[in-house]
């Protein structure tokens, strides 16, 4: 446990260290890379609650990522055009305020996770994987064929949304904000893991029948985990959209869902910091390998295949040893 804790601290401090060094060397692109890594890490931290602790292999978490992104895109585009969003029953004003957008993103993706979870959690195993994948595809095609917000072309937001007291257009300030969100979410996730709910969820993963005999309801535990997980990934989606100032249906694509799982497994499944390590490693590999070859995904595929077949604990597992694995 000791080695893993040291490793976690090092990893966690590496991100702001990179950002600060980049600031000193005046390399804003490196700050943007670090921000991207932190946001993708956040999305995977969300998935990790369902996948690592709950054992729910969701291949549809891009739904929540995309919904968070579009929550930002739709609210900001209405603020941009000064035209309120008329929903028939009530009218919503557009907004450029990040806290409001975040709350909307969390609420919308939690609601979607509840609906998808109610259906998908009626099944298990391979069915669950296929159904989450299919729902992801449903949102993807819906967004492509829905013309109101750019359809297939996506939607551009010209100015990054605002956060009280910060200049979010400054890369390092935006990075600081994203990193603070990641830190808070990691803290909460750590609490959830050790809470009675987290322990019950882990029990339901390891032995659902035993969980039921002691009076727990695996279905409800998993549903709650799925909803929290979706909400966190939705929040990451809103931040990702703000980073790029652009949303498009690719945020809903199944490759996105696949990449989130890749982050978790690259880092080490079932570990709090696994997704953070995995996402940083992925962004780093993407940056380095895409400079080497146009076909860098072949190398990524080979690395991934190697990790799955031969190094199952991921990077943290390899460095910290198997003993610390709580699964």
């Amino acid at each position: 446990m000791q080695r893993e804790a040291v490793l976690n601290t090092l990893v966690f401090l590496a991100l702001p260290a990179v950002a600060v060094i980049a600031l000193v060397l005046d390399e804003p692109f490196a700050i943007t890379l670090a921000t991207r890594a932190a946001i993708l890490a956040l999305a995977a931290v969300g998935l990790n609650l369902a996948l690592g602790l709950g054992g729910l292999v969701s291949l549809g978490h891009a739904v929540f990522f995309g919904l968070g992104g579009y929550a930002m895109g739709i609210l900001a585009s209405h603020a941009q055009s000064y035209a309120p969003l008329d929903l028939g029953l009530f009218v919503i004003e557009g907004t450029k305020s990040m806290p409001v957008i975040w709350l909307t993103a969390v609420f919308v993706s939690a609601l979607a996770a509840l609906l998808i979870g109610l259906l998908a959690l009626r099944t298990a195993g391979v069915y669950f994987i296929m159904i989450t994948l299919a729902f992801g595809q449903m949102f993807y095609y819906f967004n492509i064929s829905w013309p109101a917000y750019g359809g297939e072309d996506g939607l551009s937001i010209y100015v990054r949304n605002s956060f009280p007291g910060l200049n979010t257009l400054d890369p390092i300030q935006f990075f600081g904000l994203v990193f603070a969100v990641l830190a808070v979410v990691l803290l909460i996730m750590g609490r959830i893991e050790r809470s009675p709910f987290g322990l019950a969820l882990g029990t339901a993963r390891q032995n659902a029948a035993r969980a039921e005999t002691v009076g727990l309801s695996p279905f409800h535990l998993r549903l709650v985990a799925f909803v929290i997980s979706g909400a966190v990934t939705g929040l990451a989606g809103a931040l990702f959209a703000d980073l790029n100032r652009f949303v498009s249906p690719t945020m809903f694509s199944w490759q996105m869902s696949g990449e989130f799982i890749v982050f978790i497994v690259l880092g080490g499944i079932g570990r709090l910091f696994g997704p953070v390590v995995g996402a940083c490693l992925f962004v780093l590999l993407e940056h380095l390998l895409s400079g080497v070859s146009e076909f860098w995904l072949i190398y990524l595929g080979a690395i991934l295949l190697f990790v799955v077949l031969f190094a199952r604990g991921g990077v943290i597992g390899a460095l910290a040893g198997r003993g610390a694995h709580h699964g």
């Binding site: 996948l51 292999v57 291949l59 259906l119 009626r122 099944t123 195993g125 391979v126 069915y127 994987i129 296929m130 159904i131 994948l133 299919a134 729902f135 595809q137 449903m138 095609y141 819906f142 492509i144 064929s145 829905w146 013309p147 109101a148 199944w254 696949g258 799982i261 890749v262 497994v265 499944i269 076909f295 995904l297 072949i298 990524l300 595929g301 080979a302 991934l304 295949l305 799955v308 077949l309 199952r312």
Partner: protein
């Protein structure tokens, strides 16, 4: 809408459903017998299409192209099974998802490296390029009719293979108790390679047949793969009959929804809104169908347990 147009759309739906069946049959066999979820099945579809386009480009023969798609996809399937998939049977579903996701990356980018990013075109043979007149005066493309015919023949062949042959007995035995048939002297790893290659060949053939209607490009397999998953969820995992019924349901819903929904909505709203809302709803229709099946039969129409 005239009845003629409706019949034409029903035929289109049948055609896409039959092609989905070729994909879903392989997937459901592989899952039923080996318990493996194979995301790379779409890559085998793509390999079949590229092999067909390459051979058709070199020789000009469509029949040779179809043969090449079968052989290339079956060979790729056998190599993948022996090299990678074999190590995954005892692993959990997460490992299977990840390893086959990695295979997609490798196969897609490898194909892009070999053939480039531009789509290839596979021409429908001249003899089948025109329309034929069906009873009732319906004009319908001969090639699409051929696809429906080929698909039905393969479906019947697959049913006979599984119900009437020695290999079929072994496949069914493998589905219910793999340890027992290994104990009875069946070489189980050879059987698995054979089933995987058979599923791959069906996917490759579907890729080549559809490639002549659409374009042949990297990434063409994954949307079809996900549709095939919907088919399997609707039909029930492991059931060939379920795959056939599910594939036809999905093909018809998808095709007819795209035509009928905008038309139905144009009664209640203006034309452009009806088109956009209708097509958006139509894109969701098969998933709504899947959700309905899940609510009433969580294990699919023909699924057990």
């Amino acid at each position: 809408m005239t009845t003629l147009l409706l019949i034409e759309q029903v035929l289109n739906g049948l055609q896409s459903g039959i092609m989905l069946f070729l994909m879903a049959a392989g997937l459901t066999l592989i899952f039923g017998v080996m318990g493996l979820i194979n995301l790379a099945h779409g890559s085998l579809y793509m390999i079949g299409a590229f092999a067909a386009a390459a051979v058709a480009g070199a020789t000009g023969s469509f029949v040779l192209a179809l043969g090449a798609s079968l052989i290339a996809a079956a060979a790729a399937g056998a190599i993948i099974e022996i090299g990678v998939i074999r190590r995954l049977y005892e692993r959990d579903h997460l490992d299977q998802v990840l390893a086959t996701f990695a295979l997609i990356l490798i196969l897609s980018e490898g194909t892009r490296w070999a053939f480039g990013s531009f789509p290839l075109y596979l021409d429908v043979p001249a003899a089948l390029a025109g329309p034929v007149t069906l009873p009732g005066g319906i004009q319908y493309p001969a090639y699409r009719l051929l696809i429906i015919g080929v698909g039905l023949v393969i479906a019947v062949g697959l049913f006979l293979l599984i119900a009437r042959t020695r290999i079929g007995i072994q496949i069914r035995a493998g589905e219910s108790d793999r340890e027992m048939i290994a104990a009875l002297g069946v070489d189980i790893s050879k059987l698995y390679t054979l089933i995987f290659a058979l599923g791959a060949a069906l996917a490759g053939l579907a890729g080549a047949l559809v490639g002549a209607i659409q374009s042949v490009q990297v990434g063409m397999g994954e949307p079809v793969l996900i549709l095939a998953f919907v088919v399997i969820v609707i039909g029930g995992i492991g059931s060939i009959k379920g795959a056939l019924v599910g594939a036809l349901l999905v093909g018809l819903t998808d095709t007819l929804g795209g035509v009928l929904l905008p038309l139905a909505l144009s009664g209640v709203m203006d034309a452009s809104a009806a088109t956009s809302v209708g097509s958006a709803l139509a894109s969701m229709s098969i998933y709504i169908l899947m959700a309905l099946v899940l609510i009433f039969r969580p294990t699919g129409l023909y699924g057990t347990a």
